[in-house]
């Protein structure tokens, strides 16, 4: 994997990303490497890179040519011999799968790739390749600054947590910096449990060193010498790549004692979760890291003051931490200039579910849902009309067409009773039954509740029952109306009586489903659409 190419030798790229592999990229890679060992005229080396995020084109093969990288995809094993030729190493060919220059593809060209700048471009575990693409520039700058200067830059950049709650990262860091202690921790939340999201995974598989760099900078900024990446166990490939990257970074002197000959030290370890969605909630995560059941802790105390093993701890999402290096290397203003309102910088957007073009794109905040669904996703994969989209994971609202003009912006989403969350967008065609989706939201809460508080633990069980009653009752019957009222009361109880956003936000998908799609529950569309959708942007803060 870590093959250094001799000078002048062309490189051929095939992704090692989980989704690319699920579409057969390992087989293509094996085929190509066999071909390269047989065909002596074709002088090239195979590099396994992250994915460019255009999953409908995976397995994508990229060939380095004098014109730039030329893309072919989706490639099958039988295409390999026709694609890997002496001619294709020299430029664009007329092979039917040839897509032209990768960077010129509309999907790539229109993006603002700041955090994902190197994902898909480089060999993820090759430190030299990372450095030759501006890697560790941010760290170099950080090493010349005081902790307060670093924290101030993060504040000025406007970066807000990408894990869902959108809390300003710089303010969190300031609290940890201002809490004096011998031992502090940086914890990366890589639990990425939301359906429809894979940005963390793609980044960890495609450019783990940028996450490592972000964590080292965070350590220097707040005075922490130990970092943990809490990775969900559902990500075996990311696990492997992270461990390889950490080993490489250590060998190259970026982790361990006296980083880059400075007085700073930082150790980093990956810890695996064990299939509990709630462990993505930061205090549950800390309990889990301490070796306990993942029961959510009451706040205060904030983890920034009493976090892991009772010590001051920064808990940040993968993307938040991976956005730090570019802020330090290009400056806070550069980053802040992207975006709108209070949503500064860029968001890795994940288009998932029933879409023609599923994948990841990184854009400045401000694009509308409609543009994403039409221009990028290209409508449904099933070629049917889109009926509903769920944004922000299982605790996010379902949105009908009337809401698709909403811009991607934390405040705009909160205004319509929705959340942007981790930027995942799941698309459903017109065969979806929204009553079933509402029921699932409650069911998911039953399965994943940590059990600490009653509104969530018992409320969700009741929620499933009540939704069943609504579905089963005859139209216009008293029972149906009463069950609907009961459901709304239950949602209120869960929203206001739960300790964390698991119970507190499960009402979001439920209420939006019944309000926007009452006909799926057997109510007339002209029913009472007035049920309150409260704005709830920082529910777990």
């Amino acid at each position: 994997m870590n093959t250094k190419s001799p000078v002048n030798q062309k490189r051929i790229f095939v992704s090692l990303d989980t989704t690319a592999i699920s579409k057969g990229s390992n087989k293509i890679a094996a085929h190509i490497s066999h071909l390269l060992s047989e065909e002596t005229e074709i002088c090239a080396t195979l590099v396994r890179n992250g994915s460019r995020g255009m999953f409908w084109l995976e397995p994508l093969v990229e060939i380095e040519t004098p014109l730039g990288r030329v893309a072919y995809g989706p490639v099958t094993e039988k295409d390999v011999v026709d694609i890997i030729t002496a001619e294709s190493l020299n430029g664009i060919t007329d092979h039917p799968l040839c897509l032209g220059l990768t960077e010129e593809l509309p999907w790539m060209k229109s993006q603002q790739r700041l955090t994902f700048a190197r994902v898909g471009l480089i060999d993820p575990i090759d430190v030299d390749s990372y450095i030759s693409h501006q890697g560790f520039d941010g760290l170099k700058n950080a090493l010349t600054q005081t902790p307060q200067e670093i924290v101030s830059q993060i504040k000025d950049s406007g970066l807000r947590g990408r894990g869902g709650a959108a809390f300003p990262t710089g303010i969190k860091w300031q609290t940890v910096l201002d809490t004096p202690d011998q031992q502090k921790y940086i914890v990366c939340n890589a639990d990425e449990g939301d359906s429809g999201t894979f940005a963390d995974r793609m980044l960890m598989e495609g450019d783990p060193l940028v996450l490592i760099e972000g964590m080292i900078i965070a350590g220097i900024a707040v005075g922490a010498t130990q970092g943990y990446i809490y990775l969900r166990s559902e990500y075996p490939q990311a696990h492997k790549i992270l461990n390889q990257a950490i080993a490489q970074a250590k060998t190259a002197g970026y982790l361990g004692k006296n980083i880059c000959d400075s007085q700073h030290s930082f150790e980093l370890e990956v810890r695996l979760g064990a299939g509990a969605y709630i462990c993505g909630e930061e205090t549950s995560l800390l309990e889990s890291l301490e070796g306990k059941r993942g029961l959510v802790r009451a706040k205060p105390p904030l983890p920034a003051i009493e976090g892991l093993f009772g010590q001051p701890t920064v808990v940040n999402n993968v993307i938040s931490l991976a956005s730090v290096p570019i802020i330090l290397s290009r400056g806070s203003e550069y980053y802040r200039d992207f975006g709108i309102g209070r949503s500064r910088g860029t968001l890795p957007i994940q288009l998932a579910g029933n879409v023609a073009r599923a994948g990841l794109l990184e854009l400045a905040f401000g694009i509308s849902l409609k543009e994403l669904l039409n221009d990028y996703a290209g409508g449904c994969k099933t070629k049917k009309p889109i009926r509903s989209v769920q944004v922000g994971g299982p605790l996010g609202a379902y949105l009908p067409a009337s809401q698709w003009d909403t811009q991607l912006d934390y405040e705009a989403f909160s205004k319509i009773g929705a959340v942007l969350g981790h930027g995942g967008i799941v698309v459903f065609d017109d065969s979806v039954n929204m009553a079933a989706q509402a029921r699932f939201a409650m069911e998911f809460c039953v399965v994943e509740s940590c059990g600490k508080c009653t509104p969530c633990r018992i409320g969700s069980v009741r929620g499933v029952e009540v939704i069943d009653k609504i579905i089963e009752a005859d139209a216009n019957s008293d029972q149906k109306q009463q069950s609907r009222i009961l459901l709304h009361d239950l949602c209120d109880t869960m929203e206001f009586g739960s300790l964390c956003a698991m119970g507190g936000m499960t009402p979001f998908p439920v209420r939006s489903a019944i309000n926007y799609f009452p006909e799926d529950f057997g109510f007339s569309a002209t029913g009472q659409p007035s049920d309150k959708q409260s704005a709830n942007e920082e529910c777990d803060k």
Partner: protein
Amino acid sequence: MSAITSADIDKINDILQKNKTLPGAMLPILHAIQDELGFVPDESVPMIASALNQSRAEVHGVISFYHHFLTKKPGQHQISICRAESCQSMGSGALESKIKQRLKLDYHQTSADGQYSLSPVYCLGNCACSPAIRINDDIHGEMTMEKFENLLDSMVTFNLELK
């Protein structure tokens, strides 16, 4: 109750020796045991408890909290079907019923011949290729019954090769 061998006990002791001084050693230990033996046998509970200075109830409480840890030996091929929303949008509900029928298994069951076990999972991060399933450490996307049959065939071949 599972019968585990004395070699297994040695392995567990080895894991405990290596990991017990880690900060927050519980999960790394449980993972290591499950990676080694395929599950976390009941016999290991008192061993872990004494190595970590905790009660058996505490150890048991942790194991039972996490969906990932198994207390019984799973099938040789552990099949997980993604039940989360993105996969639902691409028909995972129907796929799930068909796979259950095909394997004659419900969730959390293992086939009598010890070949397959079936479990639900909530998102594999493969939502760009829904519906997704996981078989041991391999993730497969855009799953259909036809593809699933092919995967089953390849598992049978794999078993024959092993014999």
